[in-house]
């Protein structure tokens, strides 16, 4: 038998004694069902708002196609977002903050679908839904997990600090969050990453989250997600907290925490 220290010998009993007074009085089936109903109501509200936002995006996309090209010959592309009236999980967009506005037809914000480190196995160019492909940008490199060829729905949000921005896509999509200023350093850039590395974290349909390898950013677009609020898209759920943003794939349990002070992959 392995020799145990005194603490190891006493810990199991002391932990049990410490927890014994805790009963289940505050936890009930009805409480759990109420919580499920509350989460379902939040999802329905977000779905209704997303439908309205999608219609706006569609109109914006039509407008983008009709807009004249810029001096560099590139069109402006747009991505969808969600806007909620103040008091909902996602506060109304603050129009005085240009970085917090949902992408519009006149905003020269271009984003290419996120790429994922490490080494790519295939190369594909992703065209934003309902817009002309931005053919002047280099093809994006993908790796596990693979990106959906044509994501049908995007949701983007910004943390109240403005330091982190996230993009969620479904179905079978990914969730990616990029950070501007951080106190930690990412791992060394893989040799096969031809773009910027470590500016964010990305989580797909399976496996743990990985660092971003991309030439773009998902920051600067999307309404502010107030601290204490949660947003859900497909199997992904992101929660905004003062300590950072935490996104989880509810099907697998994998996810990440991202903040200026730390990051965590789980």
């Amino acid at each position: 038998m392995t020799e145990l220290t005194e603490i190891e010998e006493r810990l199991p009993g002391q932990l049990k004694r410490l927890s014994e007074p805790i009963g289940l009085g505050g936890l009930s089936r009805s409480g759990i069902e109420r919580r499920v109903a509350e989460r379902a109501r939040q999802r329905r509200t977000r779905a209704r708002l997303s439908c309205g936002a999608f219609a706006m995006v569609l109109l914006a996309a039509v407008g983008a196609v009709a807009l004249p090209r810029g001096d560099d010959g590139r069109r402006v592309v747009t991505r969808g977002g969600t806007i909620a009236p103040a008091g909902e999980g996602i506060p109304a967009v603050d129009s005085t903050r240009p970085e917090a506005t949902v992408a519009s037809a006149v905003e020269p914000t271009t984003t290419v679908a996120s790429v994922i480190a490490p080494a790519p196995s295939t190369t594909q160019t992703v065209a934003p839904t309902g817009t002309t492909p931005v053919s002047t940008r280099p093809p994006v490199t993908t790796a596990t997990p693979p990106l959906p060829p044509k994501p049908t729905h995007f949701v983007q949000f910004t943390m109240p600090s403005g330091n982190i921005g996230c993009s969620m896509s479904s179905p079978n999509g990914v969730v990616r969050c990029d950070i501007r200023q951080r106190d930690w350093a990412p791992p060394a850039k893989p040799a096969d990453c031809m773009y910027d590395f470590g500016q964010g974290l990305v989580l797909g349909g399976g496996g743990t989250a990985v660092f971003v390898c991309a030439g773009d950013t998902v920051r600067g677009v999307g309404a502010v997600l107030a601290y204490g609020s949660t947003i859900r898209e497909g199997p992904f759920e992101c929660r905004s907290e003062e300590v950072g943003v935490e996104c989880t794939n509810l099907d697998t349990g994998h996810g990440f925490l991202l903040s200026a002070a730390e990051y965590r992959l789980f």
């Binding site: 927890s19 505050g26 379902a40």
Partner: protein, 134 residues
């Protein structure tokens, strides 16, 4: 699960909220989850770690003010000693010595390698030992 969350958080109310949320998530995903018990435990542990980070400053102050001097690891001071541990070490200690999980099971809950679990438990015990010897 509530007791597990209580050991992680030190607050019955917070523990019940975290566990209620975890059950709600499991209920929504019941048809898709292959191992409900493991999924629930992961949700509870991750929920506790998120809840703990929100109050991390308050707990550090409370732990310093209430940390006993020249006292052993009595149950009534164990909560303070646990609160002083980083959340991952605390989770590893509680899952190992309260829930009696194997290293592989703990690794699965925390999303780390089994070798890391060994290190977390070892360092957690060493930190608890320092509290005892103070």
């Amino acid at each position: 699960m509530v007791r597990l969350a209580f050991l992680m958080l030190g607050s019955k109310q917070q523990a019940e909220e975290v566990v209620q949320d975890a059950f709600a998530k499991l209920l929504e995903r019941w048809d898709k989850v292959e191992k409900p018990a493991a999924y629930l435990r992961s949700c509870v542990v991750n929920g506790c770690r998120t809840a703990h980070r929100r109050h991390i400053l308050e707990r550090r102050v409370a732990a310093r003010e209430t940390a006993p001097a020249h006292r052993g690891l009595e149950a009534d001071h164990l909560q303070d000693a646990l609160a002083a541990l980083p959340s991952k070490r605390r989770a590893a200690i509680i899952l190992r010595y309260y829930d009696d999980l194997s290293e592989a099971e703990i690794a699965d809950v925390l999303g780390v390698r089994p070798g890391t679990v060994k290190s977390l438990v070892s360092r957690g015990l060493a930190q608890l030992r320092e509290v005892v010897e103070q």
